[in-house]
Symmetry: none
Subunit: 509 residues, 2 copies
């Protein structure tokens, strides 16, 4: 068995090396690549993707898995080797069904579509994107078609990011959440809005970056094994467990936009940096699912980074970095400003209460497109209609409507958004469990210390990588299955006093 | 034939994509990678290198070349397709003759030797390097042995960097050059040395970088198809003809070190950016040889960048960037400082007159080692003796003697150095030819304009990539074979007035 395991690991390492090389190329494309590099870069990424796919779908690897499954049948499910075989099998099946030519067609299309989108969005030119998006929809459907037997055509696509999750389950979960969230949003937005003018002040880029970097070092982001750069759209990427990078964007007319984006990506990075090093180069060295990954970005961005305790420690320091802007602004004003709830057009700018309404809109539109209830040409209108229904406002143009997120313009339609809201739900569930285990955590946060929280998360979530499914991990870490109650409870406890809401708990629909 | 050509190009593109990906990974390793990424990065590069080698040495590619050679037999030698087949054949033969096991033995030895050298050089410990260098010599000889039928054992090694060039020809050329250069160095160093204290002043990094970038934009470096970053050791690299990057280092206690390194790498980059775009992704999209490549870095660094005309335009601008340092320093003082000739121990710090003596010393020692006239144990002594003969000074230790350059300690002995001096020789020959064709060039340079020079080089050198051998290219571009006369003429015209040398032309030995 050991010889077979060694061969499996060697083969996986080769696939991983090609994937990591592609990740470096994509990072470079987003950070430093000059425009002239775009054409060849798309082709290079397609080649790496194709070769990785060829290597990973080698029939010899399938035979190795067959043999290893027989040999490990009687070992415990959570033994590392058993988990490696199991998770590799899941990925293997997902890969062998998709022809290499299709993978390369898709990745070339994605690169091209992304490049065009970077021009079409600022130009508010949905017409230019439309044929590309129609191709994307077609490719997404063809991809799902390689996995017959699904309930919803979205299921195989969702499975790529949240293994095992079904569209029907998400629809149910989201319906329940939406039913309780919409009244909460209504109750809050019936109150006078918080004044956030203190954030809309000029703040030099270098100072913003320095402050953010200072905070994430305190969080525990290891700069010996990571770095931060600037991009148009912030993201986290990993080239090995020793090289985990985040990116941010800076708006000099917004004092905290870069900061919260930095805290968000840092949450993703802490997860990756915390995976057991023995897993490096294998399919176990990933997050458990998009939802669990997002729970960490939201936890560190919102539950920690927008909490009153956090700012009791950091606000005097922020004032020292930006004295001209903040010296005369009281903590309470600032705290209300960064937690302002308002109906808005842009998902990435949305507050943590309305954010999920943006996500659920996208999830439903993805389903409608995939399941044939909506045509691409009608997407901008459908977007406007749903925005009006859920948020009571409608984008004046497509730039801030259907063109706003990169996802559909550089990847699949389907499975792209549910993870964000699942992440919000789980962030509160994990945080509540950590605080139950270590009641000192809130006090520590108020002193700018994050050791106990980080250690609990590393122990209960991060170290396991992709060894457990999201369901297993949540159950093990929190003692119960995924539930929206901790999240609604968190929102209520935070926003009830902020907006002086009446009643003993969150309003029901 | 077209179907075969298309298949050849598709196969070459795949090899090229893997090589370009590796180049991105190496660039990142040198610029931005955090320390924690090092282990995995080495493995990722090894994987990409191995796959590229496997793909390029595929027997099917050899059969394609056989067929295409038959089919293109009657087409003109300089037709693009014929050239592609010819140049690919050259690279192919070079790759298939060397067993993969040998390549991996060599690359492991190189990595180990380099690691030891980084400690042994500062410790002045040649004894520690000796057994490793003996292995390097043995490996270099074995590598040459895969290409039987050579005149000199150095020929196959030289062929890697300067295709078609023979040790005997270089020996002849260098003997002739040395005979005339040594007396010139003696004549110059008999005069009082120039005062270069105006350069040894503190100059902030950002201002140095901004000034250098301003100059290379004027040179014609296309920032839409390239960029500049900082590294420990400056280099030029290319990911496609649309993405050509240079790096530099900055010493804040040296006002022009970063500038001249920038102009040097920019020369390499202008060459690559000027290659015909139809060649992108094929073996034709390279420089003709190390010597021709170096001719472009030296031309833009020295013949242009250290000329009086250049500084008539740029010196007032440099003074404006560094008023505290240069406002009271006259142009003539600065011009003499940047062209100071002095006998020195270190090749990379040497001026353009003595530089070649350093290079020729190394070339001759390489030949002596390879051809068995010198043993590794006697290398430090041989180095000291030759330094005394040629430059009239001798290193006090091996750190600044036989241990100084990384080349032998991280790669072959043989073929590593001749390109530097051939570059100097050709830089003057190309510049003279350009000026004959466009007598306005010197006047343009004195106005900070480089259009005519750049256009001539693009037309006569750059666009052809690796289509012609160095000999063919030089003959086509300048009307005569490589000759040392333009170079000696350039040196004499420049340094005779600078140092008030007597006589009507360069002294003869």
């Amino acid at each position: 068995m050991n010889a077979r395991l060694d061969e499996l690991k060697a083969r996986l390492l080769e696939v991983n090396d090609l994937g990591s090389a592609a990740a470096v190329l994509r990072w470079d494309q987003a950070t430093y690549m000059p425009p002239g590099g775009a054409g060849a870069r798309g082709r290079q990424l397609a080649t790496l993707g194709r070769l990785a796919h060829e290597k990973f779908t080698d029939a010899a690897l399938g035979r190795l898995l067959d043999a290893l499954e027989r040999e490990t049948r009687d070992l415990p499910r959570d033994a590392d080797d058993v988990s490696l075989v199991r998770v590799t099998r899941r990925e293997y099946e997902r890969s062998v069904r998709v022809p290499a030519a299709f993978v390369s067609e898709m990745s070339e299309h994605d690169a091209h579509s992304y490049q065009v989108w970077t021009e079409a969005r600022p130009a508010n030119d949905f017409a230019r994107m439309r044929p590309l998006l129609e191709q994307t929809l077609d490719l997404s459907r063809r991809l799902a078609g390689f996995f017959p037997g699904y309930e919803s055509i979205a299921d195989p696509l969702i499975d790529y990011s949240d293994p095992g999750l079904k569209a029907a389950a998400v629809r149910l979960l989201f319906a329940e959440l939406r039913e309780r969230l919409v009244p909460l949003v209504r109750a809050i937005t019936a109150q006078p809005p918080a004044d956030d003018s203190c954030l809309r002040q000029h703040a030099p880029e270098a100072d913003q970056l320095a402050f953010g970097l200072g905070v994430i070092r305190r969080y525990g982001f290891d700069l010996e094994r990571g770095r931060q750069d600037k991009t148009h759209h912030p993201f986290m990427t990993k080239f090995s467990l020793g090289d985990v990078r985040i990116t941010t964007r800076v708006r000099e007319d917004d004092l905290t936009d870069a900061l919260f984006s930095t805290l968000h990506e840092c949450g993703h990075a802490l997860y990756e940096q915390g995976i057991r090093h023995e897993y490096d180069g294998t399919p176990l060295a990933e997050g458990a699912s998009a939802g669990v990954h997002e729970s960490q970005s939201r936890l560190w961005e919102n539950l920690v980074g927008r909490s009153r305790g956090f700012w009791e420690h950091f606000y005097p320091r922020l004032q020292a970095s930006f004295p001209a802007q903040l010296a005369t602004v009281p903590l309470e004003t600032f705290y209300r400003a960064i937690n302002r709830v308002a109906r808005s057009l842009i998902r990435t700018d949305a507050d943590e209460v309305t954010y999920n309404l943006h996500v659920m809109l996208r999830f439903d539109l993805e389903l409608d497109l995939l399941e044939g209830r909506l045509e691409v040409k009608d997407l901008p209108d459908a977007w406007r209609t749903r925005m009006m229904t859920d948020l009571g406002l409608s984008p004046p143009d497509d730039r801030d409507g259907a063109l706003q997120d990169v996802h559909w313009y550089a990847g699949l339609i389907g499975g792209q958004f549910q993870g964000y809201t699942i992440g919000n739900i789980l962030s509160a569930q994990f945080f509540a469990a950590a605080t139950r285990a270590h009641p000192a955590i809130p006090g520590e946060i108020a002193r700018g210390e994050f050791g106990a929280l980080h250690a609990w998360l590393r122990e209960n979530v991060y170290q396991h990588g992709a060894k457990f499914t999201a369901d297993e991990l949540v159950e093990r870490a929190t003692g119960s299955p995924m539930s929206i109650e901790p999240y609604l409870d968190y929102l209520w406890r935070k926003y009830q006093p902020l907006y002086g809401l009446g009643g003993a708990g969150p309003p029901r629909g």
